[in-house]
Point group: D3
Chain length 133, copies 6
């Protein structure tokens, strides 16, 4: 991991950006680790800022999706960091309970659908493509 | 798959419930397949109704999480059916684009965090547990 | 895919073994594909014979575990071939229903345990290691 | 996590049920965590009881499938708890060795079948659907 | 999917870039699909160009890693497109056989290591961090 | 885990082979664990030697694929041991950064391709099969 004091100018500039934009006064371990390969740190940080910015989905909804993905993949670091971020945005135990219930349920049904190799209903295929297609 | 006409009374009652509650006039293949094992059909249908009911999260948010989970697991049936369900609740191409961008991004970062075996920041661990813990 | 007529002597000998031991008169596509890399065909076929031989677990139990793994991973080829193999060994719709119910359930609970990052009970840790440890 | 003493009546009733039915005198962490969202605790506990009850598959076979699924998904909590449960039902090192050998082997072949995008043999497709279809 | 003729100026400029840099005269379906959400198309295309450029690893090695990842995740589109790209860079059946053998083997051992919850050897932990840590 | 002193002759012979061929003076925990089921230890060790031997791909390339697979699956033991092995073969932070960047990127695009259920381009399908098909 690259500490702030050891970082070159390029990395230090990104660290400053991270702390300012996130309103925090420490560098999370994930960025200190990615800094061992500066182009990846740059690309990931820029991507995260773009993807997590408020859009048609609000930041809390995005963090709840991040929790669902991380629970599905079993990523320990990600679960702690995204749950922490979601808490800051207002997630309480009941909302987290619903995120987990939905995540657990569809991990279950995904396997039933795969396990039985269920054929897609033509009506879903059409509806999924949307009016724009 | 068990067609409506072949179904016994127990299964037919569930089929009727599904069509009524979902406001559809066909039995999706997933339920026709689960009907080969009636206790699983009963348990899954009851669970789905409970989990997907409006709660602290609205039904569209829940369907977006279902899409994120199904994309992460690569479940073809589930992707078509949940995208169809979300379309019905108002999902347009831009919202779907954001769901996919978030899902893709965190499938990426999940692997970076795992791949480098990044240690959890103590500050995230505390924040994630929430004020209730 | 390497057809029987195109196969070299090494591959043809394995094909003959497969047909004899499995009591079939065709070469499944998986072996015709692995034959594009003969050392992998040899290693996999030998491994499969060893692992699937009757042992403390009977062949049907092993095929049910194969179905559970393949459903969890979403492998289409594997699901059709292992379900076919299990049918031959006596699997009926009710047993398949139980395999799927268990597989679905634990794909669900796996994500809840990961999602909440639940700490392992010390009592389970000790019991799991068994009397031999 | 919700301790027994902090639990409301609904949760405490479920805790009592768990201890009685499982014949244990402590609440496993998974249930203390699910209790932060009581409807999920209720649904999961009821589902587990139904799915794990002796049926056409005996409880040990079900626990071995649970181990295979949890190993495939890499769920730490689940591996310790299901291996502990299976030990109680008689699983020894040799049986566990066979469960792991089968689980490992099909995680391998699943990727070979996916990686080469092997086409399903028509003969398997028919056999898998079974005589009932 | 957004066809070239329907694309707005921003998307068309990316399409032109893709065809020029890849030396192809068609737009692959993945980009026509991502074009339904232009910021994702832009971010992904820029990221792909950066990540796949020759670096310390040559492009064929990168494509082989892409095949290994896609086989592990079971992504049909990705397997066909990355295998095609690797073929163009010189991948023959024997090299593909080795990629698959390695991918299959470690999908197997990953589950054995997880399944038995094997403790990390301290000597590996130190060596993995490298001389730079 | 089976220590060297407790091992029977068959296991001890494999332990000796492992230490000699790998040029190490300890038994890694993975082998001490697999030794609880000697036929699996034998099969895995023989398979590893065959698969990891220099071939058309050099050993470092194979270890980098092992890292990519293990990061995708989130296997802690495997990540430490394969990163250690790759370090010994010359992997530095920049190369590891490229392996991770490629692994992360395709875990992202795999989900976008799955999530949108993108149809395979016919041109890729043909090119992937190679001139030999």
């Amino acid at each position: 991991m690259v500490e702030y004091d050891q970082a070159n100018d390029e990395v230090r500039a990104i660290y400053d950006e991270i702390m300012e934009i996130r309103g925090i006064d420490f560098i999370p371990n994930v960025f200190k680790t990615l800094a061992t390969h500066p182009p990846t740190l740059r690309r990931l940080w820029d991507g995260l800022r773009q993807v997590m910015a408020p859009g048609r989905l609000d930041p809390l909804t995005k963090e709840m999706i991040a929790i669902a993905v991380s629970a599905t993949n079993g990523c320990e670091y990600c679960l702690w960091s995204h749950t922490a971020a979601a808490r800051k945005l207002g997630l309480d135990d009941e909302m987290l309970g619903e995120v987990m219930a939905v995540t657990g349920m569809f991990n279950q049904t995904n396997r039933l659908a795969n396990g039985y190799q269920i054929e897609v209903d033509e009506i879903y295929r059409k509806a999924a493509l949307g009016p724009e297609s």
